[in-house]
């Protein structure tokens, strides 16, 4: 009969060694996850500054992000430029491994696809000199926004929630931001999407404005519902880019 107490430290040590040795082998290699020895990203390159197509190339924030992910994973990246209508079918028919195309997380699709963690929030933001950081602070003041836009729908919803404020519709979101910056028509704040706000503030570095999110539109990569390992690998690589600041550097490069 074996005296267990005598052997248990040895057994534990052996088990630990086994776990340490076996872990890398249990995790599939990059080429096992991506059998074409490349990462095939589906993209609708009609969405600046996230992805844009020229005659023979693609460029933009998501193109840089995808290439950086490929470097982290250790595989080359290939882009398949598709129209929006064809993105999810291309994923379904295994013509691409993942989608990276300014796609907000759509809860209705969860179950049929996997989303990575988000890499950008394109929601609506309230831009002002900092005096009016939230929508609730706008009562009795004036809010600029683009006529007919998503911002207008949000503005009308807020009109039913708080004391009235003046509506200042403009024909472009940049004009709405101009109104606030120049103090036109007593505009105290503007409601625009985060991309517009970041681009505008980059073009007007002398304007000491701040913005706060009013809604969230979270862009994430998408993989097929039968490929959780692809989502996990992309997610892990994205996390390292969060951690070391690479993602912020890429976003700042374009926005």
């Amino acid at each position: 009969m074996i005296h267990l107490s005598r052997f248990s430290p040895l057994l534990l040590f052996a088990a630990l060694v086994l776990v340490l040795i076996s872990q890398p082998g249990d995790e599939p290699s990059a080429t096992e996850i991506f059998p074409y020895a490349e990462i095939r990203f589906g993209v609708d390159a009609s969405y600046p500054p996230f992805s844009v197509a020229t005659a023979d190339d693609l460029f933009g924030l998501e193109i840089d992000l995808a290439r950086a992910l490929g470097e982290r994973i250790g595989l080359p990246v290939r882009f398949v430029n598709l129209g929006f209508d064809g993105l999810f079918d291309a994923l379904r028919t295994n013509q691409v491994d993942a989608l990276i195309s300014a796609l907000p997380i759509d809860t209705a699709r969860i179950g049929s696809v996997y989303y990575t963690q988000p890499y950008f929030d394109a929601g609506l933001v309230l831009v002002s000199d900092g005096t009016y950081p939230t929508m609730r602070d706008l009562s009795d003041h004036s809010l600029a926004y683009e006529y007919g836009s998503t911002a207008e729908s949000e503005v009308r919803a807020w009109l039913r929630r708080i004391r009235p404020f003046d509506l200042l519709p403009y024909d472009t979101p940049a004009a709405a931001l101009d109104a606030v910056r120049l103090g036109e028509a007593n505009a105290t704040a503007a409601l625009v999407d985060a991309i517009t706000a970041r681009l505008y503030l980059r073009d007007h570095p002398d304007w000491n404005a701040e913005y706060t999110y009013v809604t969230n539109t979270l862009y994430a990569m998408v993989t097929g519902g039968d490929h959780p390992e692809i989502a996990a690998r992309l997610d892990a690589a994205l996390q390292t880019m969060f951690d070391d600041g690479t993602l912020i550097e890429i976003i700042d490069r374009w926005l």
Binding site: Y47, G83, D89, G148, P169, D171
Partner: protein, 416 residues
């Protein structure tokens, strides 16, 4: 023995009472009772038409609400998609209920339907030993299934004869995506038209078979993505398609150009398609523009600003009416989605998923119903005031739960 049973019974009764009380507190789902009498669309511009997306609605009241808003807009015709895959899930086993309820409410609201047909059920998509099986999509229609599709189209035509007489066969077959991610094949599409044409007419002698609207695109021959719509239409005629359709559906989008811009990949692309028809002596075949419009997404490269979208759309409708006698209808894409796409397609809509009309809804309504001379119901962009067009706010009017401001005339424009 009896005591525990009585105790159990008492608890069942108590829980049933609680369940009943909670049930009475939950609001009943909105009803979709038909209006009596049937409604009539009031319009001065009957060529204005809307493309709807009703077939995916789960709740019937949303179908009714959509069609009420379409009627109130002054639009008497819709294009609606009726997927084969939804209706004939097993061979020869039809479930018409989803079509019936749309037809019932459209008729009740005085709205005419043009049907678009496509989307292949799984059983017709491939055979088990077909090597393409893994890569098939809902748009994959093997040659072996053409007859099945024709039978479905004929049965549809027979069932709704007199109610739905205009049938569009397929959608944008010049795109690989719409042709099951296979190389596009004009001759193959002509075969499809040839297969369906006679059975549909046998089922409904008054049927109008429309050749599918083609996607506006510049894809060159051999492209894996698709083929230029002008070239594709040429190829259809060259392959003898003219004998197998009674009208041509046309998709023509403005993208970033105003409607009057020279014909290119823009609204007046319809004229280039019409030129092809004339070259093949097909003058008498009418055109129905089954998709058109502008998009006002803030980022998409093919979009315009919301204010431009309003102006361009109304100018385009005027152009169709005054200059394109060959075009019977101009159907705007798209009235409302049942669920948001969370991307630029949402910015083609006139009403959001919560039934909140966007400003363009009121603009087209004012045009269709002849209110244009009284002013556009809309909010005035401040830059228009700055721009020196001489327009000003003249009064506010409460419509529904929204207060709107009249502009003296849209013609003053917001174009920069």
């Amino acid at each position: 023995m009896i005591k525990p049973l009585l105790s159990l019974l008492s608890w069942v009764i108590r829980l049933s009472l609680v369940y009943w009380v909670i049930g009475t507190l939950i609001p009943a789902p909105p009803r979709a009772a038909l209006e009596v009498p049937d409604r009539v669309v009031e319009t001065l511009h009957p060529q204005v038409c809307m493309h709807t997306r009703l077939i995916d609605e789960v709740e019937e009241w949303k179908i009714q609400r959509t069609l009420q808003l379409v009627r109130e807009m002054g639009v008497n015709t819709i294009v609606e998609f009726f997927p084969w895959a939804y209706i004939e899930r097993s061979p020869d086993q039809y479930d018409w209920s989803s079509v019936d309820r749309i037809v019932r409410h459209a008729r009740n609201q005085g709205i005419h339907i043009i049907a678009r047909m496509g989307l292949v059920p799984g059983w017709a998509r491939q055979t088990p030993d077909d090597p393409r099986a893994e890569r098939s999509t809902l748009n994959t229609l093997p040659l072996d299934s053409f007859d099945d599709f024709a039978q479905f189209a004929a049965d549809f035509a027979a069932r709704y004869a007199g109610t739905i007489d205009q049938l569009i066969i397929w959608n944008e077959p010049n795109l690989a995506f719409e042709w099951g991610y296979q190389q596009v094949d004009p001759a193959g599409y002509v075969d499809l038209l040839r297969t369906v044409y006679a059975p549909i007419h046998a089922a409904n002698p008054n049927a109008v078979v429309l050749a599918a609207g083609l996607a506006p695109t510049l894809e060159p021959p051999g492209s894996p993505n698709g083929l230029n719509d002008i070239l594709y239409l040429e190829a259809l005629y060259a392959n003898g398609a003219a004998a197998y359709f009674d009208a041509l559906a046309v998709h023509t989008y403005g993208f970033t150009d105003p409607p009057e811009a020279d014909p290119a990949l823009n609204f007046r692309r319809a004229e280039l398609l019409r030129d092809v028809m004339l070259r093949y002596n097909d003058d008498d075949t009418p055109v129905i523009i089954t998709e058109t419009g502008w998009n006002d997404h803030p980022r998409w490269t093919k979009a315009v600003h919301a204010a431009q979208r309003v102006t361009y759309t109304l100018d385009a409708l005027r152009m169709v009416e005054s200059q394109w006698a060959w075009a019977e209808k101009a159907c705007l894409w798209v009235f409302r989605y049942p669920y948001p796409t969370f991307s630029y397609p949402d910015n083609f809509t006139f009403v959001n998923t919560e039934f909140q009309p966007r400003p363009i809804y009121y603009a087209v309504q004012a045009y269709a119903r002849g209110w244009e001379m009284d002013g556009l119901l809309s909010l005035l962009p401040l830059s228009a005031r700055r721009g020196g067009w001489g327009v000003r706010l003249i009064l506010g009017e409460k419509i529904g739960s929204e207060t709107f401001v009249f502009l003296p005339s849209l013609n003053s424009g917001w174009r920069q």
